[in-house]
Symmetry: D2
């Protein structure tokens, strides 16, 4: 059960609802939202809670009381039936328009990121992606340019106007990266790094939350709930392939995830066909499938020289392939009543 | 390496190629094809074989010599670069037109199958599917109507003109079912029932080969190879979901399978969103994705009374949902330059 | 619910129980057991059945009425609380003694199988395993010697006294193979080949049922139920590794399967570490683990010349390794109060 | 290739090796070890490196040059052929003695942890485990007592002498937890939290590194490599179950992991049967299997009142079950020439 207070509820009204929750044997959990307080009523049996909906409606300052059957509450479509549309420095995601974030896996130099930014912008991309802090399986692999890379990314934004998405790996880096990035990305390996989720939940930046390749969809939503419970509702969910026995592709794209997530949550859902296949030859097919399935956007790796890329070359599209793909995607979007 | 003999090659020409293969240390494998003999050269190193291509070209009766790098030979795109188009009593699959086979999981009565056949035909389906011999996980579950069901299926074909697809589970039933069916389906649980594969390989019926939910794509192609090696090239591959840790859907649709199979083989590839999701609410999304990804067709479960279906009710579409879906699919097909 | 009739129940007593089942809205399923009739009561709610236990006890000819909560009935430990001990031509499996079946993957010649039989017997093996009809992923791989191989196997039995285990792949081969083999093996790829399960269920041979690598334990028990429902209770379950994302071994040994199966069923459980790891270097470790976990026996591949084996060489132990392993296994068996 | 410098190598000697590496076209990676510098030679072909072993031996300050074929270098058995034995405040792990860490999932009160500590000590446990900072899937679940819990844990250590193992989730908490704990645990969800791995790699505490349930063994070793590359060689690897399609247990115990890891690395390997099964009824069987397979230790959840445990109750053993289990494990240990 969730009790949503009025935006102008007074502190003592909130407090008296909390006390009542404790008095009748449950635990209150306050979501420190910016606009309004939301109080989750935790513990005990769901059946017992059903009887309490009317009871709490009568408390001063209460706007709404909702029973939520899923483990995730604030992320659930029961709690918020309409699609959430997130504004990323002017780019909307979750609405009618499909949003595409394109760019290299790693920022390698100012020239590289600026050139790619101009190129993907010309092809119709809405955002620029690129990693400065890179989680690499090997400690001996290229670990990213760090803050210098962020400066190159900002330079590319200045030249093209594209909002930028970049990954944050450490609670200690959140403030630094927040100064440069429009969207903070939580990488797949950190999907259940709850310290980091709480920390980015305390920012007001949109968060791109990538699904861990061994994690269930319900766990993805619980991770989103961690962020929202801290007061940041701007969470974009990203399916990027799961680990299975099939070894012809790097990961298995879980296309079912799109309708399942759309059924369970109001948050926008994007797909990352580059990681989900690991092979640029399959990116076109899976990108089209993603849009047809109802995804709200795509993350696509584009590199001007994939063979020399410092990471993920085999799954990166060349700019001319990306350009051709964008034209095809616009047709698929139209066929499912969306625009690009 | 594969040596394709001319259609009019004489037995002693075939024999002398075989003898030469043995003489130089390899094993010949004769594919008893109807039209022409194909001899696979097995064993030894691939590198060594490369030198022998010209050698065998000079033998009388030889039409072509091909090096094939994959374990599957006759199924590979290297062997047959163009898409294979299969004719199912007038319905083409593998070409520009998307083919849809719709119908109930199980044939339950003449009235049921005839009614559904009329309904799916009116909505634009190209084939009728329905099981008379049902592989059920429980020995106590409805096992299908058997031959009586086949008669009802034929009745539905007579009334609508739709070719019919039905499953064969046992080598002993192949002759019987071949008399009634247009397409023989090998179910997912029998994908590696090699006795059955060889047996249907000896028919001239098109074969719908469903991927086992725990089987790799390379194993699916090896199973297709079993059928083709017996002389039946009319194999349609079907992805119907794989087993993974994700439990929000009955199976995980492996959408990557479409571009991977299209890259590896010339055979048509269809998708079964009903089994791949196990939930009718997700069938629309995954059907659109399938067509957008490049699949050549769909298998869809349609039932006029899903709640009372004797099997797979929860994943069956009602006729009116199917009708609406077909209209949407036509738009997606058009967006990827296909027709329905 | 299951109604077990007395061994001397008359046909009309059985019939009147069946009619009563139908009258009150359920479906009777008759298990055509050799010794006694068992009638499964199918359909409807479990809760409603609980009230009927006493009702059916009063019918003439009824010996026992059991509520069974699992989908599998005759295979469940609720139905048969004690461990089932199966007698294989004098070798007991499922009791205190650990049974080991050893031998090559494929029977390659009389000399080979006889030599290995003598060798594994000297090391303490209780049964000889070897394939004559081989399910191979590739149609071009060695498919086994067929009936000639069975004759070699029988020759090895005559010389050593070891009962022999061999695979049956086709309903049409059951009679032939039954003449030679002591145990009929259903291979992993055929675990859900229900026609074959029913056919071997109609024999009186012990059946070694291998788990499909993509199949859940509950599906394994349902496949056992198919065999038992035909009247053959002599089913030995075999875990041989499942498909997962982990690729350092051919399969992932599901060691949890041992205690789970022991909890759910009365049937003997054996492990096949050779297939479950795919690498002879790991067979020793997993064999010890299997016995410590409570498995009733092992299947082990032993070959006198693994590098030249026609199949599965990399996972086969040399005879001297097998001999050393058997001595170690005897110590582990003793540590868990078993003998070898 | 790895170049190990002498402990008294001078900075300019290290520098000249680095320069030479660059000059001939490779990238040097300096492991900032406490005792000695280790320089990994990265990039280029392995074949080319083989020729350089002798070349680098002649450089002043170089102690040893090793070719390492795996992606992990310092963690590999090629680099360090003997088993690594780690000393945890007097308890050895990785040697002949099996080490058992037992205790509750979460520290709930001083009384609880002290009582359990006395109990598991009496049964023969070597270490006490208990979580104060808990990574929970739900933000609304009990998140642990934090520093207060650590104080209770230390109290339990004072009373029993058992070294304590507890989890660290955040780079910001490493200093705090290091003050209290004998072993720092990296939880499964943080196995690829590279910031955290680097941070604990800079401590001198033994690290218990749990495998992520969706992560390959090679990725586990790469995560260990991150820690060792920072100079901390005291890494204990822990298998705790992986995600698969099998749903009868919470996770699937990957018992193959024990021999595979023992083959690949010199680091100690322990098993966590409580998480790997998720069900106390299966813990006994899998614990015995783990020791028989060659694991160096066990993590076991023990709770004095599992039904009221604030986390993981269903998989916790009662103290009397744990006591009985320890006696049985000692017998299995002896059967594989180990002691407890």
């Amino acid at each position: 059960m969730i009790i949503i207070m009025q935006t102008d509820a007074k502190p003592d009204e909130v407090q008296s609802v909390e006390e009542e929750i404790r008095r009748i044997g449950f635990r209150p959990f306050i979501n420190p939202g910016v606009e309004r307080k939301v109080i989750a009523v935790l513990g005990g049996l769901d059946a017992k809670k059903a009887d309490l909906v009317e009871h709490f409606y009568s408390f001063p300052g209460v706007e709404r009381v909702d029973l939520i059957s899923h483990l995730w509450k604030l992320a659930s479509r029961e709690y918020h039936p309409a699609d959430t549309v997130i504004d990323i420095s002017g780019v909307k995601i979750g609405g009618n328009r499909i949003a595409v974030a394109a760019g290299p896996c790693s920022i390698e130099s100012e020239a590289q990121i600026v050139e790619i930014a101009h190129s993907v912008k010309a092809s119709g991309a809405h955002m620029l992606r690129g990693g400065a802090f890179k989680p690499r399986t090997s400690p001996y692999a290229f670990q990213g340019l760090g803050e210098e890379g962020l400066k190159f990314l900002v330079k590319a934004r200045e030249e093209t106007g594209l909002p930028v998405v970049t990954e944050v790996m450490d609670t200690g880096d959140v403030d630094l990266i927040s100064k440069y990035a429009d969207v903070l990305q939580i990488g797949a390996r950190n999907m259940q790094n709850y310290s980091l989720l709480k920390r980015v939940g305390a920012t007001t930046h949109p968060i791109l939350l990538k699904r861990g390749p061994g994690c269930k969809l319900r766990d993805l939503l619980m991770s989103a709930e961690y962020i929202i419970a801290e007061g940041n509702c701007n969470v974009i969910l990203c399916e990027r392939g799961i680990t299975t026995f099939e070894d012809s592709t790097r990961n298995t794209t879980d296309i079912n995830a799109v309708p399942v997530l759309k059924h369970w949550t109001h948050l926008p859902v994007v797909m990352d066909p580059s990681h989900a296949t690991g092979d640029w030859r399959y990116v076109e097919s899976v990108s089209k499938a993603s849009i047809a399935s109802g995804a709200d956007g795509l993350l696509l790796e584009v590199h001007n020289d994939p063979k020399r890329a410092l990471s993920d070359g085999p799954q990166s599209l060349r700019p001319e392939k990306f350009d051709a793909l964008m034209k095809q995607l616009a047709r698929v979007a139209q066929a499912v009543d969306r625009v690009m």
